[in-house]
Each structure stands twice: as C-alpha cells, then as structure tokens.
C-alpha cells in the first residue's frame, strides 16, 4: 500500500515536469536562429516559398498562440506533424523510443554483468594485483571516446570475426539481441568503470563490518561470503550511480546510435534540432523528461527491494 502510494505520488510529479519541460523547450527552440522552411527548401528557399510553408505550418502565428495550440494538441495525445517528414511526430518518436530503451536496458545489464564480478574480484583482495588491475584497466573504456570504442568493436567482432552485424537494429527478438550487443557493449564499457569503483568501495566498507567478521568466524568464506552477506548490502550506492548514469544516457546515446546506424531517439533529436523540426524536438524532449523521471522512480523502488530497512515515505 505504501509502495503503491509512493509510486502514484511520483507518477503525478510527471505532470509539472512535463509542463516545465515543454515551456522551456518550446520557447528555446523557437527563439534560436534558424528556419525549418530553409531546411526543406535548401537553395530554392525563395521568400514566397518560405512564406507559404510558414502559413501551412502555422509558424506565422504569434508564439504564444503556437504554444497554446501545442498544449491543446498535447492533452489529446497529439504531438503535431513533423515539419521535415510531414508525418505525425508521435509516430516518429514512438517508433524510436523502443530502440533507445533497448540500448539503455541492454547496456545496463551488460554493465552489471561486467561490473559485479570485477568489483567482487577487486574487493576480495584490497590493493592486491587484481585489485589494481580491475581499477586501472576499465579506465581505458572510460577514457576512450565512444565512437572509437564502437568502431574497434565493429572491426574486431563484426568485420573480422563476423559474430555480429555491422550496425543496424535487426528484426525480431533474436535479431535485436544480436544487432544490439555491440552498441550496448560500447555503452557498458563506458559505464562499468564508475560502477566497479563505487561497488568495490562499498564492498570494502561492508567487509569491515561486524556482521561480516561474525560470518567469517562461523566459517563463511570466499564467494559465499561476498555474494550472500556482502553484495546485497554494498550494492545500494552502486544502484544510485547506475540510476544517475542511465538518466544521462537517455540524452547521450546519439554517438553510439550514429556509429551503429541505430534509429534511436538520440539521432532523431539531433536531426530535428538541426532541421528546426519544432514538433519533434518538443515531443522528444518531453519523452526524455518522462524517461528520466521513470528511471529515478525505478531506482528508488529498487532500493526497497534490495534493503528491507528502506521504507517508502520515510
């Protein structure tokens, strides 16, 4: 009951977030220089053609009137018409959201799969050789630009070993799993070092606590000690780190989407900003805002699942 109430309360927060985001983005994108009509018309942008397109798109109306129209459509679930593609912006955006969600979730899973064993390995012998190696080597992934990591992975695993396709989203579950592995791994390689360090630090802290000493004295050692008694208590700070990074990822998957030719929302956002495709920019930003709020909510819910001492509303 407390959990449901907490979740509902947080979901209601989406409304002021959405309104705030739409106001800021609407006026920002309309006030910066540039004209969507010139993207469509290119060198053939005569004053007459520009004026006609502005009339057709309602861009000749006052800004406040345009914003009111946008809000009116929004409450009916209509995000307007893409000025670039001349198709409903909602269709365009929602066809891309699953792609980016796939990328982020898959990357998070891979980041966890990489980080947890390595953090355990490092924490099991503090300042030992493997601890030093685990702390140092993943930093290469953190320091390397994502586009370079991506190209290297494509070259090795797609072109030379032919284990994965060179980019694309694939079709069907199996196709997506295969096509999205390398791009997700690219993102995970950037995420893992931060999670490893955070998890390692909390595990070392927990390893020094009294109940762990008690467990050792009772004969619990090695991986059993780490997994059953240490990990669950040490993971909460790492969950926070993961949640924050996933929030950042939502808007920054563009590079990976570009390198791997994935039709995600990051790519759509950049293309729409350059083209001044106002309805799509507004719609994408709204979706970003909602996703970030949902990710934060999931992170908070995860705390209570991991630690029964954490209660909703306290």
């Amino acid at each position: 009951m407390a959990r449901m109430s907490f979740i509902l309360h947080r979901l209601l927060l989406l409304v002021p977030v959405a309104v705030g985001v739409t106001i800021i983005v609407f006026f920002m994108i309309h006030l910066i220089p540039g004209d969507p009509a010139r993207t469509i018309l290119g060198l053939h942008a005569t004053p007459h053609a520009i004026a006609e397109l502005h009339r057709e798109w309602g861009l000749n109306r006052p800004l406040a009137s345009q914003y009111w129209l946008f809000l009116d459509r929004l409450v009916h679930g209509d995000l307007g018409q893409s000025l670039y593609y001349q198709t409903p912006a909602r269709e365009l955006i929602f066809s891309r959201v699953p792609v980016t969600v796939w990328l982020i979730v898959y990357a998070a899973v891979l980041a966890i799969v990489i980080s947890v064993p390595l953090a355990m390995l490092a924490a099991s012998r503090k300042n030992g050789v493997r601890d030093q190696a685990v702390r140092a080597i993943p930093l290469v992934g953190l320091g390397m630009p994502q586009f370079l990591t991506g190209i290297v992975l494509i070259y090795l695993f797609a072109l030379r070993l032919k284990l994965f396709p060179v980019g694309g989203y694939g079709s069907g579950l199996g196709g997506h799993l295969r096509s999205m592995f390398l791009p997700s791994l690219t993102v995970a390689i950037g995420l893992a070092p931060v999670i490893i360090r955070s998890l390692r630090a909390s595990m070392l802290e927990v390893l020094g606590s009294d109940y762990v000493t008690t467990a050792r004295s009772k004969g619990v050692h090695g991986s059993r000690l780490l997994i059953r008694h240490v990990l669950r208590n040490a993971v909460i700070p790492a969950v926070t780190v993961l949640g924050i990074n996933i929030g950042f990822l939502v808007g920054t998957t563009l590079i990976v989407e570009n390198v791997f030719a994935i039709p995600g929302i990051g790519q759509l956002m950049i293309q729409s900003i350059f083209a001044r495709d106002f309805p799509v920019v507004q719609g994408v930003t709204l979706v970003f805002g909602v996703i970030v709020v949902l990710v934060n909510l999931l992170t908070d819910v995860a705390y209570t699942a991991l630690d029964p001492r954490v209660r909703f509303g306290r």
Partner: protein, 525 residues
C-alpha cells in the same frame, strides 16, 4: 584467504586468455589486393541491393521535395517523358518517343511510348501526363517555377500530349527530364495527394514496399516495367548510416553493397581494398566562395578579384578532396552543355592579386568574417587555408562557425561577408543555374550574393529563348567570361561523385547530375 581466491584467479585467467585469443584472431590480416571491378558478364536476375547512405529521405513528393536522398529514390518509381543522357549533357526519349515542334516554336507535340504501364498494371495514357504536368506546374512552393514557360498541356489522344508555351523556350526538353515532371496516375489513382505519396505509384522499374523513417526504405521490382528483362534486381533497400566508417565497414562486411560518398580521405585505401570497387563518377558539383555585395568592400570588383586570385585551388583540391577533383574555372562545370573550357576563371596568381588589391578601395587590407557550417570539416579546412592565403593581401579573416541551419539562414538572408556554397545540376541545361546565379529578381538574389550585371541578366534571358545551339553557345560563353571577370563568386573546384561498391555489383553508374538507373544494376557472385 588463499583458497577463496582460486575461483577468481581461474576466472580471470580464462577471461584474459579468451580475450587475447579473440583479438589475435581478429587482427590477423588477410591479403589485400586491388578489388576486381564489377564489370563484365551476363546480367543475373535476383538479389537485393543495399545502398548505405549518408542521410534519410524526406518525402516522396516529386513536385515539392528538394533533397537528393528523396530524389534518387523516387526516380526509381517515377519516370519523365525524357531522361538525361549518360554523359549528362542532353536528353533522350523515355516515356515519350518523339516530338514535333510547330513553326512558331510554341507548340510541342509528343508521342508517348507504347506499352507503358504503372506498377498497378494500369496503362499510362496522355491523361496521366497532362495531370502530372499540371500538378508539377502548380507546385508554387516546389518545382513549379521550372515550368514557368508552359502555358497549357493538352491530351488530344491517349498517346499524344501537346504542350503550348508562352514563348519559345530552349530548355523545355531538359525541364521535362526533371523528376518533378515525372508521370503519376491521373488524380493520384483516386487518392488524395498526401495519401498517394505515402505509397507512390509510377512507371519506373521499382515499386513501393516500405519506409521505416530513419532506418530503411525499400522498393521491389515492378512486374509491369516496360523495358524487357529489367530490372534485374528483386529489390533495392536504402539504409541510413550517418557514420562514414560504419558505411565502409558494412560494404566490406557484406551488409551493404554500396557506400554513398565515402570520406575523401579513404578513397585511395578503398581503391586497393579487396572485394571493393571505388568509383569517382564525373559530376556537375561545383564549390564556390560567395561574396555578399551588399557589404563593403565586397561590392568592389577589385577586392573580389584579388581574393579569387589569391586562392590556390590546387592546394584546396589536395587538402579537401585528397586530390580527387580539379580546380574550377567557370560557374559551369565541364559536364554541363555550353561549358567553355577557355573561360578565364581567375586562378592562383599572388602578384596579380596584390595588384588588384592595390587598385581597390581598401589597398591596405581589411578585416572580415567567413561564415561556415559547424561540424563540416571540409568547410573548416577551406576556411583555414583561405585565412592563411589572404594574409599577404592584408585581409584578416575570422572564421565564424554556426550550426548548419543558422548558417544557411544567414547566407540566404544575406547576413554574411563571405561564405561557402555549392551547386549540382538538376537539369542538363545551364538555364536553371544561370538564372539562379545572375538574376537578382529570380528569388535567389543571384545565388544570395546580390550580384547585378544587367548585361549578363539580359543575355541569360536571351539564351533561354534562343533555340539555335550556336547562338546559345555564344551567349553562354560570354556570360561565363563576364561573370568570371566580375568574380561575383570565386569558383573553387569541381568534385566527382564518390561511391564504393562491392565487387559483386555490376552496372551501377551515376550520371553527372547524380541520378542512377537501378534497372541496369545486377548482382553477381
């Protein structure tokens, strides 16, 4: 804790060993030998050609859209009465087979090709042609201006179309070869215009399959196509792959067969890559440096000439195109009819540049801003080279990088000093380019430079209505000479269309206007 570390040690060792083995296997290089080109052999039916391209299409509405990525796709669906010849300098019969011209040069009567059907199986008739041309003419925010000379279109018999002109019009056949004048079913086959263009129907070799925006667009073979035995391919798919490296890797890995516009820096490597053919098709692309004559001192012809003479175009070709291009001497590229090789477009001569500067209104130099698009490495390279080459003239050039949309808006509203632009021909006739470039009243403000030479404008108008080839040649030669002398823009270089194709691809040829006929393409083994 020694016994507790054993599982971890084994795991770490196994993981390290696997990674080393995988990397070693992947890095072992095969033999690199020059690719065998895709020529020769008998066409084979079947296969899906995948073209990895730099941008997505925008719309399939051939009367209103201006982006090449849309045009090159719907040219496989729609066909015009005449089409561009392979060398890009003329037209040849396509959906029409011949025409007659009235003695007063105002009425063209076209005979339509027999046996042409739309992909629905419905025969094409003159009613479809009349409808299509009337729609194209009415596209006021699109390509309607190209048909300004047409007064009316009639369809007296199912196989005859009559076009009445307002005045004699030399570029008519070239205008009719433009994709905007391609033939669609009358009344859009009973649909609205918007509905029709979401799944368009034409007489071309391919018909609509699907378009997942931002991802892939696919056409499949038109079973009713009129050229016997063609197309050879079952289907063509255009995929959107923005990254240069990824497109190249896809062709090398077999995931795509055509890489559209590989980076210039990779051309020489691709030429020696096994299994890949690197083609540089002659194109009509010309790159220019534009001057805003509404701003001092660019209204001074000596300043413009001085800058033009100070530019080492060969160096630009090396630095930007990695040698894959030639210095430009004229507004016209060599693949355009009436291009004059002898046009004395100003070439690098620093002494002459200094003399021009000395004779100008700013003999000691000035400061100026060069506007370029951010993220465009070619434009940045050109700007940096010009920055250094104009210093001896006393010109301090500051490079201003703006996002592409803002840079375009500033260019087209003449809020700039100098900037870069380019042109590729839409029709095999210089009329559109000349009107766009020299006529301040044509809507483009003389290629957004505010250049105004009434003699040149008059000659351009005369050339439009002069049907005699030699007379047109004389007019266009003079136009080229004059605008080169006026240096309203600096003509920088001509560059080819670069395509890397898998060696299994045969018959892929790009005309100088950028379009390609995929009905001639086939995939070998």
């Amino acid at each position: 804790m020694a016994h507790r570390t054993r599982p971890f040690r084994a795991l770490a060792a196994a993981a390290a060993g696997t990674v080393i083995a995988v990397v070693a296997a992947a890095c072992s290089s095969g033999t690199a030998s020059p690719a065998s080109s895709g020529g020769g052999g008998k066409p084979v039916r079947g296969g899906n050609l995948i073209i990895a391209r730099t941008a997505d299409s925008q719309s399939m509405n051939n009367t209103t859209v201006f982006d090449n990525e849309s045009i090159w796709v719907f040219e496989q669906i729609f066909q015009p009465l005449y089409t561009v010849t392979p060398n890009g300098k003329g037209v040849m019969p396509w959906l029409a087979t011949s025409y007659t011209l009235s003695p007063n040069k105002l009425t063209y009567t076209f005979t339509l090709r027999k046996g042409v059907k739309f992909s629905t199986g419905k025969p094409m008739t003159s009613a479809d042609v009349k409808f299509s041309l009337d729609q194209a003419r009415a596209a006021s925010k699109g390509w309607g201006y190209i048909d300004t000379a047409i007064k009316s279109v009639a369809d007296p018999t199912p196989s005859t179309v009559v076009i009445n002109l307002k005045y004699p019009w030399a570029p008519l056949l070239a205008d009719l070869s433009l994709f905007s004048n391609a033939i669609v079913p009358a009344n859009y086959g009973g649909q609205s215009e918007a509905q029709f263009y979401t799944h368009p129907v034409g007489t071309g070799p391919f018909k609509w399959d699907y378009w997942t925006k931002g991802q892939a667009l696919k056409l499949v073979r038109n079973p009713y196509y009129w050229e016997p035995g063609k197309p050879y391919l079952n289907s063509v798919t255009w995929t959107y792959v923005a990254d240069d490296n990824t497109r190249q890797l896809q062709v090398k890995g077999g995931q795509a067969q055509v890489d559209e516009f590989p980076a210039w820096s990779t051309v020489s490597t691709l030429k020696s890559t096994s299994g890949v053919a690197m083609d540089l098709f002659p194109s009509t692309r010309t790159d220019y440096l534009a001057f805003n004559e509404l701003r001092k001192p660019f209204n001074d012809v000596h300043v413009r000439r001085a800058i033009s003479l100070a530019i080492n175009r060969k160096a630009l070709v090396q630095a930007v195109l990695f040698g894959n291009g030639t210095p430009a001497n004229s507004l016209f590229p060599p693949q355009v009819p009436y291009y004059q090789q002898a046009t004395p477009g100003l070439q690098y001569n620093l002494a002459a540049a200094k003399k021009e500067m000395a004779a100008s209104s700013v003999p000691h130099g000035f400061s100026t801003i060069m506007l370029i698009q951010s993220g465009n490495s070619d434009q940045l390279t050109i700007a940096q080279i010009l920055q250094s080459e104009l210093k001896p003239l006393g010109i301090n050039l500051t490079i201003q990088q703006l996002d592409p949309n803002t840079a375009t808006t500033d260019f087209q509203t003449l809020h700039y000093d100098m900037t870069l632009s380019y042109w590729t021909m839409d029709i095999p006739d210089p009329d559109e380019l000349v009107t766009f470039s020299v006529d301040p009243n044509a809507g483009s403000k003389s290629f957004f430079t505010a250049y105004n030479n009434p003699t040149v404008v008059k000659e351009a108008r005369q050339a439009e209505q002069t049907l005699t080839t030699s007379a047109r040649a004389t007019l266009y030669n003079h136009i080229q000479d004059q605008i080169a002398s006026d240096a309203f823009m600096s003509f920088l270089y001509y560059s080819p269309y670069a395509y890397a194709t898998a060696s299994t691809v045969h018959g892929f040829v790009v005309t100088p206007l950028g379009n390609y006929h995929l009905e001639n393409v086939w995939l070998g083994k």
